[in-house]
């Protein structure tokens, strides 16, 4: 569950001398939103995002149409990129939730992963969502049940014990404080394979104080 397991290794990258036009096309063609800019040896020099492709109109204010075209075609990636010291980067050995925290706090969509100033990968929102998806075993069919329980120590164990008593396995499990009910805890996903909805309801409704608030095939 570390960044190095979820990041994209060998991401697409650009040289600082790539023209802006080309960078735009490159990002479009390959359907990417973040383009790290590297020098020889993959040393991180900067980062180009969709935002940085938008030129501050102030720079072009005094120019006529032809001049604007000229300036635009002459612009290089290095002119618009976020320069290296300002790019927020992470190391590949931090946990994935730590990376998520950085991205949420800074409100950014991507983190270049750097070791000794050298770009080793990139981790984006999509990677984190993919991580969430995997944690929730989205790809595997089963019964997804959300159980609400008191936020008290030992409650989850009861639930697990009930499932274990049936001889079922748990594909994925995740919990979070219930969003709108204080003092409760949502054992959000208990995903189980090879069981029917009825069996699950029957089994879980026997646990005291637990309430199935959502159950579906997924």
């Amino acid at each position: 569950m570390l960044v190095k397991d979820y990041m994209t290794r060998h991401p697409l990258m650009a040289a600082p001398d790539m023209s802006l036009v080309e960078a735009q096309r490159f990002m479009g063609q390959n359907n990417i939103r973040h383009l790290p800019v590297v020098g020889d040896g993959k040393r991180l020099l900067g980062l180009v995002t969709r935002q940085s492709l938008l030129i501050d109109p102030g720079r072009l204010g005094s120019l006529n149409v032809w001049e604007i075209a000229g300036v635009l075609s002459g612009l290089k990636v290095k002119d618009v990129m976020i320069k290296a010291p300002n790019v927020i980067t992470v190391s590949q050995d931090i946990t994935i939730e730590e990376a998520a925290r950085v991205m949420v706090e800074r409100r950014i969509g991507c983190l270049p992963v750097v070791q000794d100033d050298v770009l080793v990968g990139i981790i984006t929102e999509v990677d984190l969502l993919a991580h969430l998806m995997e944690m929730m075993a989205t790809r595997h069919p089963g019964i997804r049940v959300t159980v609400r329980m008191p936020d008290v120590r030992g409650e989850l164990a009861k639930l697990v014990a009930a499932i274990a008593a049936q001889g079922w396995g748990i594909l994925a499990c995740g919990g979070v404080a219930a969003p709108k009910a204080a003092g409760k805890w949502d054992a959000a996903v208990l995903k189980m394979r090879d069981v029917t909805r009825e069996e699950v309801i029957a089994a879980l409704s026997q646990v005291e104080g637990h309430e199935i608030i959502d159950i579906r095939d997924a």
Partner: protein
């Protein structure tokens, strides 16, 4: 599974690549219309026979085409950006940083006068501008990751002070220093012994996962390709003819050439008694002179008019399986039947009279080479114990195979038998005569009866004389036929070699490798010898040619009932071709017996390890994972007791180090030179198991 959401841009996407060389005969297209892609972290092989343009594609990617080569068409998209037409400086930044390469001969690839550390560190110094001291530390770490013993010491050494396997580790480590997105490996294990090859291939697989590096693996060896890669592109005469996942290509090939290749190689465990090799007829067209339609048409069994007229495109035949054939679907449904006459020709069973007196009997043979002492004054004279106490017997009509890693003494043994080396001691008896003497002291009649076929087709013939003269020379010398009939006899031999009279006046340089080898065989059998010794006669040949030459040897065996000793390092070929096999290790025989017995338990632990290392061109084959530690010890000072004890994975204790092992007789002439009791050896599991499934073109076997 996790990869699916990631950007679909492949690491390498080659489109319609064409490369030409400018020569004094005009522009010669070496590669045409090559398209393939390699995804992030994927191992993709390019397989093909020599001269088909595999390496040219690789060198095209890294822009190393020499002064006269150039890319005439196509794109090379690397991480989404085209490498064709980039400035030299941009390309330089890509090389060694994002694309790295590992080459065939590591000894040649390393600078002989620079220390390993300096050669590795400069990659970091140049690309990352790392200070040298830190770069060296980093190199040590990298050497550890490629499982190099004692890396702190290694970085201070020169290339020649390392073994071949270690050199290859250095080259691989050097390639990975900058964490490249693409690693091109051009026959990286071809020069290595099979056991070393196995460990290097393991290492490559491990590193590929660890570094998430895309690998483009170039090889001629179908077995190696099956082991390392998930996808494979088959190249023929500069074009890709088929491309798919490994299992698809190996189990249900669409292209007639791929099918042909699969029929050329013996599978481990097949023998000449129950199966055949089907060579592809004809030879690869010269790049100057390509057929107008399909390039494979002249050699194809299914060729039709359309094939002669229109060039097929590389097209998807089913999901993820591309082929360059107009009739791919039909061909697969038709199935393939070998020509009738072919089957008839090779099915006649030969029998060896097991009770017959041995034709050749070697007992307790020893051949030592003296080595100059290293000391300033005095010092005891030392000997390389190349062959040390070897006993073999060969009966008339029988074929004895000798296998082992390089330096195990198999060549020396054969050289001693033919008289090119002087034996140190032991009895050598041939047809009842003593032959423990160099060839110059033997009688001409005896010389005539022991002839040899050599390994290297390029040096087997004297470039200054015509084919006819060279085949005729032994006829004249041994007076096999009367003087006037020499020419006729040469013609007959040429026919027998399926060459024909028009080859009589040709010079060796006008012949292909396979043809040279046939002439070499003709010359060896011209004097009608009793015993022919074959020193790796097919190792240097491409697989399609190899099959033809092996068939030729079989035919000779059948027709003139020649006894053979056959040296090889390819265990499948030996198994296919030989009746009895001796496995040699460090100058001694570890195991000897009938071919089928060697390949099934009980094994000598060394045989077991060898079998486990052989790359098998069949994705369904499962092998036990046994890897030998360390290098073969020096024959100057072989280990005491059992010579294999230093590397033996089944070592049972002190006894292996101190006492010479006994011969364990497993019956039927099968003997194992090991301390482990026979009963225990018999309980071993077979090394290779093949999941059941249809094998193309072998139904009738």
């Amino acid at each position: 599974m996790q990869q699916s959401h990631k950007p679909q841009t492949p690491i390498l996407d080659v489109r319609d690549l064409a490369i030409s060389y400018e020569t004094r005969y005009g522009d010669v297209p070496a590669v045409r219309d090559v398209s393939f892609d390699i995804q992030r972290g994927e191992a993709h092989s390019i397989v093909g026979e020599s001269g088909c343009g595999k390496s040219t594609v690789a060198f095209g990617i890294v822009n190393f085409l020499g002064r006269n080569g150039r890319i005439v068409n196509g794109q090379i998209l690397f991480q989404g950006q085209d490498l064709v037409g980039r400035s030299p400086e941009e390309l330089r930044q890509v090389r060694g940083d994002r694309i790295a390469m590992v080459y065939q001969d590591p000894m040649q690839a390393l600078n002989p006068s620079m220390r390993i550390g300096d050669q590795m560190a400069e990659v970091l110094v140049v690309h990352r501008m790392m200070p040298r001291a830190r770069a060296l530390d980093y190199c040590v770490t990298m050497l550890k990751r490629v499982q190099m013993p004692d890396p702190e010491n290694v970085i201070r050494r020169y290339p020649h002070q390392l073994s071949g396997g270690q050199q290859q580790r250095v080259v691989i480590g050097m390639a990975l220093l900058n964490d490249p997105a693409l690693l091109i490996m051009d026959e990286p294990t071809t020069a290595l012994d099979v056991t070393v090859e196995a460990t290097v291939l393991d290492l490559i697989s491990t590193l590929q996962r660890e570094f998430d590096t895309a690998i483009m693996y170039i090889s001629h060896n179908l077995g190696v390709v099956a082991r390392v890669s998930s996808k494979v592109a088959v190249m023929y005469a500069g074009e890709i003819v088929e491309r798919a996942a490994v299992s698809d290509v190996y189990l249900s090939p669409y292209h007639p050439y791929t099918q042909g290749l699969m029929r050329c190689v013996p599978r481990l465990g097949q023998s000449k008694r129950e199966s055949f090799l089907y060579p592809i007829r004809g030879r690869v067209p010269s790049p100057k002179n390509l057929p107008p339609g399909c390039i494979f048409e002249p050699r194809c069994d299914y060729a039709r008019d359309l094939c002669r007229q229109r060039r097929p495109e590389l097209r998807p035949i089913k999901l993820g399986h591309w082929g360059r054939c107009h009739f791919a679907e039909e061909i697969v449904q038709m199935g393939w039947q070998p020509p009738e006459d072919f089957v008839a020709q090779y099915t006649a069973e030969r029998s060896v009279d097991a009770a017959a007196r041995p034709l050749l009997k070697v007992t307790h043979a020893q051949t030592f080479y003296p080595v100059a002492s290293q000391k300033l004054i005095g010092g005891k004279k030392q000997f390389v114990r190349a062959v040390d106490d070897v006993s073999i017997e060969v009966r008339k009509g029988e074929t004895l195979g000798i296998v082992g890693e390089s330096g195990c003494g198999k060549s020396t043994l054969v050289k001693t038998i033919v008289g090119m080396e002087k034996p140190t001691s032991g009895d050598f008896e041939f047809m009842g005569f003593d032959i423990a003497m160099p060839v110059s002291k033997r009688k001409l009649e005896l010389i005539q009866e022991l002839q040899m076929v050599f390994q290297n087709p390029d040096s087997t013939l004297n470039p200054s004389f015509s084919v006819g003269y060279q085949i005729g020379r032994p006829l004249r010398r041994f007076q096999t036929v009367p003087r006037g009939q020499v020419e006729g006899e040469v013609m007959r031999l040429l026919d027998m070699m399926k060459l024909g009279g028009r080859y009589y006046n040709r010079l060796p340089r006008q012949l292909s490798g396979g043809e040279k080898q046939r002439v070499g065989i003709a010359r060896a059998i011209a004097g009608r010898p009793e015993v022919v010794l074959c020193d790796e006669p097919v190792s240097a040949l491409d697989v399609s040619v190899q099959a033809a030459v092996l068939n030729l040897l079989l035919e000779i065996q059948k027709e003139i009932d020649t006894t053979m000793i056959f040296i090889a390092h390819d265990l499948s070929v030996v198994r296919f071709f030989c009746d009895n096999i001796a496995v040699m290790y460090l100058g001694q025989i570890a195991e000897i017996g009938p071919a089928e017995a060697i390949y099934a338990p009980p094994y000598h632990p060394y045989t077991e390890a060898l079998l486990s290392a052989v790359p098998i061109p069949d994705p369904r084959a499962e092998q036990k994972h046994i890897r030998l530690e360390g290098a073969v010890p020096s024959a100057l000072n072989p280990p005491s007791g059992c010579r294999f004890h230093t590397r033996c994975p089944r070592k049972i204790g002190k006894i292996c180090e101190t006492e010479t092992p006994p011969w364990r007789d497993a019956g039927n002439g099968h003997r194992i030179f090991c301390h482990i009791p026979l009963a225990e050896l018999r309980q071993m599991d077979p090394v290779v198991t093949v999941r059941p499934g249809n094998r193309l073109g072998r139904q009738h076997a």
